[in-house]
Amino acid sequence: MKLNERSVAHYATCNSPTDHAGFLRKRVERHHHHVHHHGTSYQRHWFVLKGNLLFYFEECESREPMGLVVLEGCTVELCEAAEEFAFAIRFDDAGARAYVLVADGQAAMEAWVKALSRASFNYMRLVVRELEKQLEEACKSLAACHRSPWRSSSSSSSGRRRHLSSPALQPLQEKPTTLENGYSAWSSGGCVTGGATYTDHDGGQTKPPPLPPRRRSATGSATGSPASGVSPAMLESPVSPETICFSKLHDWYGQEIAGLRQEWQERQKRGHL
């Protein structure tokens, strides 16, 4: 399947914000059924998370990524492997391969699992929609406030308590997170409850982007009218026909295939098959 390779490689290596990065060991997947768990091996690569894309590089100085994992319709779970600090990215599409990754330590593993489980585009979109609603409600409350007998005279926000009803919103969850012995199963839409203080921000530097479009129903037509990713159905369920597309993307990088083939050939020579 074709991909705009140059652009993808450029995006992977340019200085746009990186959401997480570090070394991880990746389990090498065998494509041969008669090689079972005998001799599972791992390869250490440099991983970079940008948005919903997890890139991995041969080395951290490599100029082009070796591979790419699109983090949509997946869950990130701790996994039982012989290795400590292992976790897996598994896809709702049964045909797509899972990725088993091993971190260097407990803290690194937890940081990766946390970052990856919130990396999906769909999750971001849900959060943005929620905030959009909250902003609307805050505006309405503010307007109502100004009409009420006891008005708040200050219009600045810092430090002032307002008589605004805070919307009773549930934290976003697609699947419940269960905690056992301090471990949790994360879903790509899940979240952690827990306070965190929000410290400094500078005001006024970002230009307000236009509001996201309202939902429109998906219309299909052979001449390519937008089967837009905004349809409600897509938000509820994991992206099912689309994960076929993403499986293809995962298998895309020729280098990795070549690498696997070479490794397989070497093992054959050594008589391990």
Binding site: S7, V127, E130, L135, C191, T197, T206, T223, G229
Partner: protein
């Protein structure tokens, strides 16, 4: 309908998160995809829009739609299709809500500390 200059091929095009997939009209699996980050979407002549990427701005992927209205819909949808666009929106709403209510709306999601949601941390 992605075009190699002057040659238009009929394709089914599907926008899924920040990817634009294209298919031969009778096949279930895509023949290609475009990652829509760091790209520019331009309305060209009637019914036509193009996508180009920051590192190669002269190279345009052209698409011709059935109607002008569809073309406008596509342009609007594609301009909002990047993860980076969502991130900027989130930062904007967060800031606005914080200004109005004095509260950080991301706290209830447990993500207020994440670097990627901080103001001023991101350009472009």
């Amino acid at each position: 309908l992605p075009a190699v200059p002057a040659v238009l091929k009929k394709r089914l095009v599907k926008l899924v998160v920040n990817f634009l997939f294209y298919f031969r009209t009778d096949e279930a699996e895509p023949i290609g995809a475009l990652l829509l980050e760091h790209c520019k979407v331009t309305k060209e002549e009637e019914n036509i829009f193009s996508i180009s990427f920051i590192e190669e701005p002269e190279r345009k992927y052209c698409f011709e739609c059935a109607t002008e209205e569809q073309c406008q819909e596509w342009v609007e949808a594609l301009k909002r299709a990047s993860y980076e666009f969502l991130r900027r929106s989130l930062i904007f709403y967060r800031n606005e809500i914080q200004k109005m209510t004095g509260k950080d709306p991301l706290e209830q999601y447990g993500i207020s500390e994440e670097a990627r949601f901080q103001l001023g941390a991101h350009r472009q």
